[in-house]
Amino acid sequence: MLLVEDLWSRYGRIEVLHGINLEVKAGEVVAVVGANGAGKTTLLRCLSGVQPMAAGTITFRGSNITRVPAHRRLGLGLAQSPEGRQIFTNLSVEENLRLGAYLYKDARVEKDMEEAFTLFPILKTKRNLNAGDLSGGQQQMLAIGRALMGRPHCLLLDEPSMGLAPILVDQILDVVKNLRSYGVTALLVEQNAFAALSIADRGYVMEIGKITMSGPAQELIADERVREAYLGI
């Protein structure tokens, strides 16, 4: 589904990613965990094309998308629910969802919106409210719902649990875990390593711009070094 080879990126002169290699297979939930500042968000920004890359290639569903501009990547099936939600605060909940399907004008848009409301019923009751008035958790649901409206094959999720109450974290991660039943593959980036790894099939551990460990999520959870560094056990 998604193959990242030797990806380098920098902000100005500060190099953030030093050669990332990563693969996500169709139908998987893959978690990238690591501390704040490890470069996880930069990685996802590169994948979506909103962050310039210094070197490397991104292959998505068999074609090289390294140079595809950001606004064309959703059409290829690669969506992102960005860090900090980034919803359109000047538009209503429903308009946010509708814009998620900006590329489409067919009858499926309506159906997908109902689906999003089934996934997050609270959004339906607030559909006409200004999205900026939602709580943090509701905004996160809206960000995921909006990304799903774009009919992705692969969804990139940046810190979906950040700043949420534990009960909401469970609810959101439950949705992520079940994405494959909608035919959506997920790449999840999280500081909350335990929560992310416990719903993922495989995981990568990222430290200051490099992948330092990878493997089945259960093995990573059991790994002594990971437990010490990220799980606080």
């Binding site: 606004h71 359109f88 900026g132 905004q139 774009g150």
Partner: protein, 290 residues
Amino acid sequence: MSELLQFFFSGITVGAIYSLVALGFIIIYNSSGVVNFAQGEFVMLGGMSTVFLFNAGVPLAIAAVAAILITCLVGIALNKLAIEPAKGASVVTLIIITIGASIFIRGMAQLVFDKQFHRFPSFSGDDPFLIGGATILPQGVWMIAGAIAVFIGLFVFFTYSLTGKAVLATSNNKLAARLVGISTNMMMTLSFGLSAAIGALAGVLVTPITLTSYDVGIALALKGFAAAILGGMGSPFGALVGGILVGLIEAMTAGYISSEYKDAASFIVILAVLFVMPNGIFGRSTIDRV
């Protein structure tokens, strides 16, 4: 009484033009947060191009449409050549670029056209309508109708069309707009083209009454800007009402105080709004949840 009515009529006629200029301002503002100070030059280009095409023998209606299209292209060129290359620059930098562009367009207009005042005939003659002892010119009715038609068009565009919402989304969050597949460059091009066309339409409508020359844009831009601020930057309805109000204040100042102070009225409006209600009449205060 008929005196007041007369001032009222001249106020809303000239106010309609300020509304059109203000509507042009808010389209670009809505998509980018930039106040385009070359907006007045779009009005000038609309009027001047029509004059020169008309004098060259082109029928007035065709000359007017062609002038609007020419100005539209100038607006798109402004975005492509001056705004887009400055990608990532701060809004203030972009605003300064538009000031530079306005000086450039004015200079070019002196060369391409000339420095004389021009006009072309009114659309429906010059016989005024007599209402309650006051008069209004047929061209004035055209101006008011033009402002209302553009307002309705924009209201429908921003409220009901997906493209209109994409413009609003681009202004609110560029990153998120790109992630949902909106080409933000395309939205900027669209805004500049649309805004230029509306400015040009204002120029076409106003020229038979106020005449046009290469430098009429400065004053119109400032008054349109006052209108946009008064209405609340960003709201089409605010721009419409703000324009009419600035026109009325100006006409009343000219009528009851002195026409010498007419032009000061709009500047006093700007200051008063900024001191008393910085969000304008219909503007929403911006509060970000963090």
